[in-house]
């Protein structure tokens, strides 16, 4: 008797739901075992942490951030452009918004200032991603290392600014910027301490706009075809170089918008050094994008689950059950299981006797 993988003629029906769903369940089960083995965490406690995280209001902000970033990554990923740089793009968005809030006179008109914060954040995030786009389009330099390296360049530029020209006056010895003026802070939802109207609007707009873009515009269609056959696009008369740059720019711009929302709705200032203050949403969003199987309708679902796992790890740490790494155990186990199970979307397992 042998087991053989046979290529499916058609992808598994409902594979887009079944496979991520199964990966999450199996990944969580693996995590409970791993956490039990390494830190004697009672499996039932672990599971209850996960269960309570799923309904915890704490996860809403992370969920919204990851949704925005997941959407941002999907713009590029659908064209097989692997933007690993959402982290840098979002932080530059944060920096751009900080500049508007602290060093211009715009905050005197709060609404204008808020809009300007988001738009400059999008412009800077987009421009940052466009650098990788230009290198890829004109010099065929792989965007993966470029976008990854540029994350660190972004960190260090901001670190420089925060230690130097942007250092706050009332910081009690901390190395950080001043708080942004109250009037440009985003408006909290009633009953929430972290979630704002504005971030909700940005998430919904990003989701709808990108869904519409991918489905109903020639730009979206071309980005999708870019992922499978750029040569055909070129022969059809599409400017492929411009397309690559556009896709990366849009991706970076949406990530930048999330950066502005993070500043105005939650952080209110930038603290030095970035690399130890960041929640690494830019990287976590890659998991969201993969779990969605590049289908934008699945992005919120994936973002919800990833944010719950993120929260479960944090609450286990707070409860002293496990170390800070619990979050990464969950996320790693799910991603690994998903990577394995994805095979079954294209292949089926058959048992052969004899």
């Amino acid at each position: 008797m042998r087991l053989v993988l046979v290529k499916r003629v058609k992808p598994l029906p409902l594979g887009g739901l079944v496979i991520p769903g199964a990966s999450i369940v199996i990944g969580i089960l693996i995590s409970t075992v791993v956490l039990y083995v390494i830190s004697r965490a009672d499996p039932l406690v672990t599971l209850s942490c996960v269960a309570s995280a799923l309904v915890s209001p704490e996860i809403v902000l992370t969920f919204l951030f990851l949704t925005i970033l997941g959407v941002a990554l999907l713009v590029a990923f659908n064209g097989s452009i692997w933007n690993i740089g959402a982290e840098g793009q979002l932080w530059l968005g944060t920096a751009a918004a900080t500049y508007i809030a602290l060093f211009t006179t715009l905050p005197q008109a709060p609404v204008v200032a808020k809009v300007a914060m988001v738009l400059t954040a999008m412009a800077l995030g987009g421009a940052w991603a466009a650098v990788a786009g230009v290198l890829r389009a004109y010099l065929s330099i792989d965007e993966v290392p470029v976008t990854l390296i540029m994350n660190y360049i972004a960190y260090y530029i901001i670190n420089y600014l925060v230690r130097g020209p942007w250092l706050g006056k009332k910081t009690w010895g901390y190395i950080r910027t001043d708080m942004i003026p109250d009037q440009v802070k985003f408006t909290l939802l009633p009953g929430s301490t972290t979630v704002t109207y504005e971030v909700l609007v940005i998430a919904v707009l990003a989701l709808i706009a990108v869904y519409f873009m991918l489905k109903y515009t020639s730009l979206g269609l071309r980005i999708r075809i870019l992922g499978s056959n750029p040569d055909a696009l070129k022969a059809a008369g599409v400017n492929v170089k411009a397309l690559i740059i556009t896709a990366l720019t849009l991706s970076g711009a949406i990530a930048g918008a999330m950066g502005a929302a993070q500043l105005a709705g939650y952080l209110h200032r930038i603290s030095y050094p970035i690399e130890s203050h960041t929640a690494n949403y830019g990287y976590t969003a890659i998991l969201v994008a993969w779990l969605s199987m590049l289908d934008i309708r699945a992005v919120p679902v994936a973002a919800y689950i990833v944010s719950a796992l993120y929260q479960a790890g944090i609450s286990m740490q707070i409860a002293g059950i496990s170390s800070a790494s619990a979050t990464y155990v969950f996320i790693g186990a799910v991603l690994l299981t998903f990577t394995v199970l994805r095979v079954f979307s294209e292949y089926s397992l058959r048992i052969i006797r004899g």
Binding site: K7, S218, L221, R222, N229, A232, A235, G237, N239, R350
Partner: protein, 512 residues
């Protein structure tokens, strides 16, 4: 001893033992049945042709024999023993090796390095030398020389296909599956390959030649099996059939549509659709592929470019649509200079383009027919109106009889000929002023090919667009053209009007 015996056996006798027997094979694809209870047998030492129109199921059957697809029902026997072939690796282990239409070689590696990949039976140290020797010997025998140490990207298509065949021999193939592997070779080199496979068969090997070209099957095969709509119509010995018989088996009542008569000459308009003057274009290997070509194509006229592959036709056509840089000279489209304009600028002016490699430069196989229509800037605005695109797709599917479950099916699920039909129909649609094509009907069966030629001709004469068709198939050129230009070594060596053309003269100029 056994080897000697095999050599001396008389393989023309009728007592050849079966090597591969296929019994009751069925395979369903979403929305269509690709194969329906197919039975057939390949004998030892025979060349067996598998013929069929586009979408008849030829490729599906071969992919099953090579372990790429697993059949839904049915059995395969190899030398009388039931076999389960569920991967190409297993097929190769059983002595079955496939050579497809697209070379599967790695461009950056040398010929020898490519051949060593996957060969396990040679020792670690000796193998490079052995392989090198083998390549030199065999390629000399066939008459298409290949240097074992050249990188594959420098080879011509013919040389690549030869390397693929050598690979099959090195893998110790007993049964060669040639999936349109020879169909697209230039005529002269085809003959050398025929000799090669006859030689292989005379030594006891078996060849399954998959083709949609009747003449190819009749030229080289011992027996011919015809497939239609996934079923075996019959297996006949070559000596007992005429081309017409086979054609009837392939197309049934539609076979009467096959004709090689010249299509009616269209009346060219006054204006020049395309003027090319003293054009120089670089080839892939750093030398000039097009050397001072000058041509004028009138609106409403079909000009054929005859020539053996690799004489600059491909580069000329790529230069016209803007895919290749012009070094010197001018290209004018209805008096407007389009020299070195980008593809988008040229195409948006109503230029249709049917490229040589449809799967690479024509369509995106992962996407649907609808999406492949909508990807053209000349068919959509920024916002896509999917409703009208769908109507358009339905219209083309109907007009060109494209066999597809729906306009939303990814093109990769269609057969090779149907993929080509999608491309041709789309490009005819967008060619408002000029159509340039390279081998537009190469992947199509006779009935479809003739239909496409008629469509092209009709478009030229009724809508008055200029058509430039380069083709390696002289029958096609003779059938479709109002004027014929012969290309050789990057130059136009003769222009004939179709009323005064002599076939022999063209052939002479082609090989001169």
């Amino acid at each position: 001893m056994t080897l000697l015996k095999t050599y001396n056996k008389d393989f023309s006798s009728k007592n050849k033992p079966p090597v591969v027997s296929v019994i009751g094979i069925s395979k369903k694809f979403p929305g269509s049945i690709a194969l329906d209870s197919v039975d057939f047998t390949i004998l030892e030492g025979e060349i067996h042709a598998l013929l069929g129109e586009n979408g008849a199921g030829k490729s599906t059957l071969v992919k099953i024999l090579y372990g790429i697809y697993v059949p839904d029902r049915g059995e395969i026997y190899i030398r009388g023993r039931k076999a389960r072939i569920n991967s190409p690796k297993e097929a190769i282990r059983q002595g079955i090796v496939m050579v497809s239409q697209v070379p599967q070689l790695i461009d950056k590696l040398t010929v020898a390095e490519n051949l060593i990949l996957g060969l396990e039976k040679y020792g670690f140290i000796t193998r490079v030398g052995k392989v090198r020797y083998f390549i030199r010997e065999k390629s000399r025998e066939v008459g298409i020389e290949v240097d074992p140490d050249t990188e594959v990207w420098k080879l011509s298509y013919t040389q690549k296909q030869l390397v693929e065949l050598l690979r099959a021999l090195l893998l110790n193939a007993k049964v060669l599956l040639l999936d349109e592997a020879i169909t697209f070779l230039p005529l002269i080199e085809k003959k050398k390959f025929y000799k090669f496979i006859r030689d292989f068969a005379s030594k006891g090997g078996s060849v399954l030649l998959i083709t949609h070209k009747i003449y190819e099957a009749l030229e080289v095969a011992d027996r011919i099996t015809v497939l239609r709509l996934g079923r075996v119509v019959g297996t006949v010995p070559r000596s007992k059939v005429s081309p017409d018989d086979v054609r009837k088996m392939m197309f049934a009542e539609r076979s009467s549509q096959v004709t090689y008569e010249r299509l009616p000459i269209s009346t060219p308009r006054e204006s020049a659709a395309l003027e090319i003057s003293d054009l120089w274009v670089m080839g892939d290997h750093g030398d000039h592929a097009v050397r001072g070509v000058s041509l004028t194509l009138r609106a409403g006229e079909v000009m054929g470019i005859a020539g053996i592959a690799g004489n600059g036709q491909k580069e000329l056509i790529q230069a016209i649509v803007g895919l290749r840089r012009v070094e010197k000279g001018r290209i004018r489209l209805y008096s407007e200079d389009i020299t070195n304009r980008s593809v988008s600028k040229v195409r948006i002016r109503g230029v249709g383009y049917i490229p040589d490699q449809p799967a690479k430069y024509g369509l995106s196989l992962e996407n649907s027919i609808e999406e492949n229509l909508a990807m053209l800037p000349s068919l959509t605005n920024r916002l896509i109106n999917w409703g009208s695109i769908r109507d358009l797709a339905r219209k083309l599917i109907k007009e060109f009889n494209i066999m597809t479950p729906s306009p939303k099916t990814p093109v990769k699920f269609l057969s090779g000929g149907n993929i080509m039909k999608v491309l041709v129909s789309r490009e005819l649609l967008v060619a408002r002023r000029l159509l340039v094509a390279y081998n537009p009907t190469r992947a199509l069966d006779e009935v479809t090919a003739i239909m496409v030629r008629k469509f092209i001709k009709e478009k030229a004469s009724t809508e008055g667009i200029g058509v430039l068709v380069a083709s390696e198939d002289l029958d096609e050129i003779l059938q479709i053209s109002d004027r014929i230009a012969v290309m050789n070594s990057g130059r136009v060596v003769g222009v004939f009007s179709s009323s005064e053309v002599v076939r022999d003269e063209i052939e002479k100029l082609m090989v001169m």
